[in-house]
């Protein structure tokens, strides 16, 4: 359990990460705002409390890893990595510009601290299985975290990976679904519904928890529990709000890849 001081610090940190991300997207004028905002809390909890990592040694073999399978949320993760010291903060203003080290979708070869290249949805959980199998062979006990989008969960490959991870008893995989109920074209229930998501993961043999993905203590507890699960891979289904924290964007079906001018961005940051 987190004490009050830790909770207060992490709450501030989440706000800071949100601000850096809005700033980077606003500075460019366009970006994947919605899906970046919905993962801020889980990234904060992972990188500032749960993951065993060393920013001065990003490729340390026994580090915990994160596969951000919904690679378009890269901007949120870049804010975290910059803040952690993987690279200078001023890189954030190079987002998506020619020659940048911070491309729209996560790239393990360009950005220090990115563990896996993603962007073609549906592939991240499979990649995480590969890492997890390798670690088992090498006797490495670290955790592999994965964040999947709910829209991404339309991809058949997600479910192929779901059955494989359970079959191989990869209890060191801890996955999250960013269940923000929105995909690119609109609300999931109108485009391609994935209910009952919790029941689906249970039926695939995973240890499943369902939490509020913006509630830090709930995330904390769920990760703790998942870490102690001895046999099954873990799925933490997080109810989230796409665009969380940016009032005019919250839960808007148009917030996926949206234009955001810098002035509006700065105003949004001031309101956080």
């Amino acid at each position: 359990m987190m004490d009050d001081k830790t909770l207060a610090e992490l709450t501030d940190k989440a706000k800071e990460i949100r601000a850096l991300t809005i700033d980077a997207i606003g500075y460019l004028g366009i970006g994947h705002l919605g899906g970046s905002m919905s993962v801020v809390e889980v990234l904060t909890m992972l990188y500032y409390r749960h993951m065993d990592i060393d920013p001065s040694n990003p490729r340390k073999v026994d580090r915990d890893q994160l596969v951000l399978s919904k690679g378009h949320a890269g901007p949120a993760l870049y804010s975290v990595l910059a803040d952690k010291g993987y690279f200078p903060k001023d890189w954030l203003h190079t987002l998506n510009r020619g020659g940048t080290r911070l491309p729209s979708h996560c790239d393990r070869n360009l950005t220090p601290g990115i563990d896996m290249t993603t962007g073609s949805l549906g592939q991240g959980l499979s990649a995480a299985i590969g890492i997890a199998l390798s670690h088992r062979l090498d006797g490495i006990a670290s955790k592999i975290f994965v964040i999947i989008g709910d829209g991404e969960s339309n991809e058949g490959q997600v479910w192929e990976a779901a059955q494989a991870a359970a079959q191989f008893k990869l209890h060191h995989i801890i996955a999250f679904t960013d269940y923000n109920k929105l995909q690119l074209d609109g609300f999931m229930h109108e485009i391609m519904n994935i209910e009952d998501l919790t029941a689906k993961w249970v039926s695939f043999g995973w240890f499943v928890q369902r939490i509020n993905g913006h509630d830090l203590p709930q995330i904390d507890l769920a990760i703790e529990r998942a870490k102690h699960e001895p046999l099954r891979p873990s799925m933490i289904v997080m109810d989230t709000i796409k665009g969380k924290g940016v009032d005019f964007a919250e839960n808007q079906s148009t917030n996926h890849n949206m234009k955001l001018d810098y002035e509006t961005a700065l105003a949004a940051i001031a309101k956080l």
Partner: protein, 319 residues
Amino acid sequence: MSNQLEMRAVYTETLLKLGQLDERIVLLEADLMRATGSKNFKDEFPHRTFNVGVAEANMVSISAGLSSAGKLPFANTFACFATRRTFDQFFISANYARLNVKLVGSDPGVTAALNGGTHMAFEDMGIMRTIPKLVIFEPSDPISLKKLMQACVEYYGCTYMRLHRSFADVLYDENEDFELGKGKILREGQDVALIATGVVMVGEALKAATLLAERGIFATVVDMHTIKPIDRNLVIQLAATCGAIVTCENHQIVNGLGSAVAEVLVEEIPTPMVRVGVKDLFGEVGSLDYLKERFGLTATVIVEHAEKVLEKKMTAVKI
């Protein structure tokens, strides 16, 4: 050349018109309907529109089923996913089954711009070119887009269309006729033939021809909108009249337009040629202009290549 139209608007308006005339036409999307802008079709034909969510492989096999039952499906996604992710489904359920699926891959090559390397299809034509009988084309302007979509509906068989989504110059007259598999001569010159495909490279080839003319080099410019089947007769004719060829594509130089042209030349009429295109590199993120420079897809690079091939032509003549 200030007359520009948004290609995706032309695409969706044309699809709607074709859909009004032909009840068989159905539309499939994989959670990129906002990118395609196909809401107009959905509004008019809600029952003929299927958004399958983020599941491209599923979309392509569903399209095959629709076709087997007599429908004429247009399936849209980005070029990278249309080809890399659905290859087996498109190959077996659609092509091998001899069905009639119109697959559309938007944002080809550098036009993926801010979506970056993961989304940048430099190999889609190359992958698709290995599928027997598949027709592959990329319209170079709004008029040819309209006309070639019409031709594609009239043709029975699978097609793969590369669709430039943003604005493009109008190059042709409204009344121009187009046939799949027949290239178009846009400008004539006797020194070198610039054979280009797609919005980006046909545009650059036209600019290059102007730059070359300033240096006293006269170039023919061809819009080779269909790369499979390649217009063999036209390639042979260009080789015979110009004796030097530069191919220009917003794609890897491997197995795309350059390869298709080279195959004809080698077998029929060996002729000096060079290929302008992406040279064995993966895509990157950036603005369109930045990426065109980065990957050598500009008029300047075409001019350099034209000069190189002209040198080869001279030595070839001496021998």
